[in-house]
């Protein structure tokens, strides 16, 4: 378990992280999302001590990492793998040699090295590329090598810093699939820093939204999307439709896929009141689909619609024109 | 091998052609009456050149002084007509420059000064004390090397091949004392004296390195051959202004000046 409490970090005079409080449970896939410069990468790098911080604490499995130095810090890092946007491989070395570097650093005997590396090559699907040089690989393959290298010390936590940002959508999917598999298979905790909402949808159980060094929202991905906090709207610009000037606009969010599919027919059949459909969207995320509808109703009918939504336990919100 | 020789011959030929080109650039100035004279010298010989300027001005010339790095530069400048005369190289050097570059630069006589040359040692007080197999430093430029080798021959250290006018260490026929020769830049010879048994050098460098005169254990008898005079384009050597320069620099004042300036390492040449 990782507990981040009241974390503060400054570069010279600028606060880059301000009162961050986050708890990450074992086996979670935790998303940290925000615009560039929001502090999400910095926060990630504080977790394995690549960055220091001035205030607050990070406790990993009962160990306050601020108390660690040199040897003990490296021991901690041994249990935390990390992958990067740019893959960070030694291009002129082979796949095998790249994955072997952490093992070399920790003086693991050669036969055991071979065993571990070959097992990982199988997991990441690069058995046939074992002796190819890293520079001859595609981006997706390079990231697979980086994942294998990060996993080779059998870490409990994997930090991913924009790990799929340099990849095309199809390759991104494959890499995310691999990470999900690792999480499922080995129960490894994954913390993903990303600016792509799709990554959060697809992967994460919990998320935090960072804005200018502040943690604006934290919670279950599903709940955050249901609540549609301002920070999320800032991030995705959810209201990209033109709202009509007359009448009242209501946004309805539905997490049950079946309910979402039936929404319009149920609404018109039960209520028999006219409404305009302004916008509708479906978002696939890890545990299902989020349907979002924006409808426009007249002033007189407004209360009837609200009663209907309440009776059917639907999540709704009145939205105003800007 | 043959190909390399041919290639080299080609390169050498083109170099000769190049150096031949620049000979006849400034033939105009000789006939008109000359009012301005440009003298080149090194920083080291500057005080000597200054001794005659006043007298030369009294003869109605405007005098310009140029400080140049080395004798080769001076010769090139004379060939190009950028300077009129220069005071720095000695006669044997001038001769070998002329023969090596097929140039025609004359040295005015009488000489202004003569460089003395000697054997220096901090370990021995006489030349014949120097043991077999001794480490001996000689300057590496052609004329000083030649002078050292001739002096070594006089001292019976070595025997040179007969008839070589400007020998290098490759012209040693026999090395009776089996001395080990180190060729070092002329400015560094005295500074390296501690690391050898003896060194040959112009006395001038011993003085400029503030070496105690007692370490000069032998003096070459050949000072007359190594006179330093004004060098000048051959076509100008009989002009009136050339004669005026000579007249201004062979006065009693210059003689006394040379004795003071060089403290015996160079002696007046007139």
């Amino acid at each position: 378990m990782i507990t981040i409490e009241n974390l503060h970090k400054r570069y010279h005079d600028t606060e880059v992280l301000n009162s961050i409080n986050i708890t990450i449970d074992d086996g979670d896939i935790y998303g940290l999302i925000g615009r560039s410069g929001a502090g999400k990468s910095t926060l990630l790098r504080c977790i394995n001590g690549l960055e220091t911080f001035q205030g607050g604490s990070i406790v990993i499995d009962g160990v306050d990492i601020a108390t660690l130095h040199d040897k003990s810090l490296r021991e901690l890092r041994k249990n935390i793998g990390m992958i990067f946007q740019g893959f960070s491989l030694i291009d002129r070395k082979t796949v095998y040699e790249n994955i072997a570097i952490p093992l070399e650093c920790w003086h693991i005997p050669k036969p055991e090295q071979k065993e571990r590396i070959e097992k990982l090559l199988k997991i990441v699907g690069l058995e046939s590329k074992r002796d190819q040089k890293a520079r001859d690989l595609s981006g997706g393959q390079k990231q697979r090598v980086a994942i294998a290298r990060a996993m080779v010390m059998n870490p409990k936590i994997l930090l991913c810093d924009e790990a799929t940002s340099a990849l095309d959508p199809k390759t991104t999917d494959e890499i995310l699939e691999l990470l999900l598999e690792l999480n499922k298979e080995y129960g490894i905790t994954i913390i993903m820093v990303t600016h792509q909402m799709s990554v959060i949808h697809r992967m994460c159980t919990k998320m935090s939204i960072l804005e200018n060094g502040h943690c604006m929202v934290s919670g279950d991905v599903k709940e955050v999307f249901l609540e549609q906090p301002q920070a999320l709207q800032n991030l995705v610009g959810i209201l990209e439709c033109n709202l009509p000037e007359t009448g009242i606009n209501i946004e309805v969010l539905i997490t049950d896929e079946a309910v979402g599919q039936q929404f319009h027919s149920d609404l018109s059949l039960s209520l028999k009141k006219p409404y305009k459909l302004i916008n509708s969207s479906l978002t696939h995320y890890r545990e299902g689909v989020l349907s979002a509808f924006v409808i426009n109703v007249s002033q007189e009918d407004y209360q009837d619609f609200l009663d209907y939504f309440d009776a059917n336990h639907l999540n709704y919100k009145r939205i105003e024109r800007e | 091998m043959k190909k390399i020789v041919m290639l080299l011959a080609g390169v050498a030929c083109s170099m000769l052609l190049f150096s031949g080109c620049s000979d006849d650039k400034s033939k105009t100035s000789a006939t008109v009456e000359k009012k301005s004279i440009t003298i080149a010298t090194t920083a080291l010989a500057m005080p000597e050149v200054e001794l005659g300027i006043e007298d030369l001005k009294k003869r109605g010339y405007e005098v310009n002084i140029k400080v140049l790095q080395d004798a080769t530069t001076m010769c090139k400048a004379i060939e190009n007509g950028e300077i009129d005369v220069a005071l720095h190289p000695h006669k044997p050097w001038m001769d070998s420059y002329n023969s090596g570059n097929k140039t025609d630069i004359a040295m005015l006589t009488p000489y202004i000064h003569k460089n003395t040359f000697g054997l220096f040692s901090k370990k021995y007080t006489k030349a014949d004390e120097i043991p077999d197999g001794a480490k001996i430093i000689i300057p590496q430029d052609e004329s000083n090397m030649a002078r050292s080798l001739f002096m070594m021959e006089q001292l019976n250290f070595i025997k040179l091949k007969a008839g070589v006018t400007s020998p290098t260490d490759l012209d040693i026929e026999s090395n009776a004392k089996n001395v080990k020769i180190f060729k070092i830049h002329v400015h560094q010879v005295i500074a390296s004296l501690d690391d050898a048994d003896a060194a040959f050098s112009a006395t001038l460098f011993a003085v400029s390195n503030k070496l105690d005169p007692k370490y000069q254990i032998a003096t070459s008898q050949d000072a007359d051959k190594f006179g330093v005079g004004f060098i000048i384009a051959n076509k100008n050597k009989d002009t009136k202004w050339a004669k005026d320069i000579l007249a201004s620099y062979t006065t009693e004042k210059v003689r006394e000046g040379i004795n003071v300036i060089y403290k015996g390492s160079s002696i007046p040449g007139f």
Partner: protein, 220 residues
Amino acid sequence: MVDYSWNVIIFQIIFPSMGVTLLMVLCATVLACLLGFCLAIALFWVGKHGLSPNEKCYATLNIVVSFIRSFPFIILAISILPITRFITGSVIGWESALFPLTVAATPFMGRIFENCFKEVSLDLIDAARSFGATNLQIVFKILIPATLPSIVNGGVLSVIQILSLTTIAGTLGAGGIGASALIYGYQSFNDKIMYTLVIVLFVLVLAIQLLGDYVYKRIK
């Protein structure tokens, strides 16, 4: 000017000088490589994006390196004569010339190697840190393996630089091809010897470059 025969030129000038030149270049390269390497590591270690940044240390090293590099070699060699004598027991001969050669070549190599290390992406170093590598392990298992081809290229530059420095070292009594070109060629107005020796130097430079290129291709 004495017109020496090819026999003399080849057996009395080129062969002995070549031996001295090769020995001098080889020894000076080994020494300057080792020291330059340490210097480069030190520069990189305390540099801005280094393993343990230390502004003051870096500034000091930087000034020392630039100071030595600003010296024309001949002046450097003459200025450190007393140190040369103290260390090598003499100031003449090629063994003594190794000292000023090494002093002059070390900062040059240090800079070249430092620039090689700077090519390494900071993420790669972070990656190494992230799996618990020590700073020394980062140097030997990441920096050097990642930049080995550039290091070889830089090394070739340095060797050729040292070769040209040996010419100047020759004026201080070290001998060698360059010095012979000056003594028997330039200073004796003997173009034949001068250009022959320049061609010998050219062949030497070419050989070093080709060897370097070959090694570069092999390890890339």
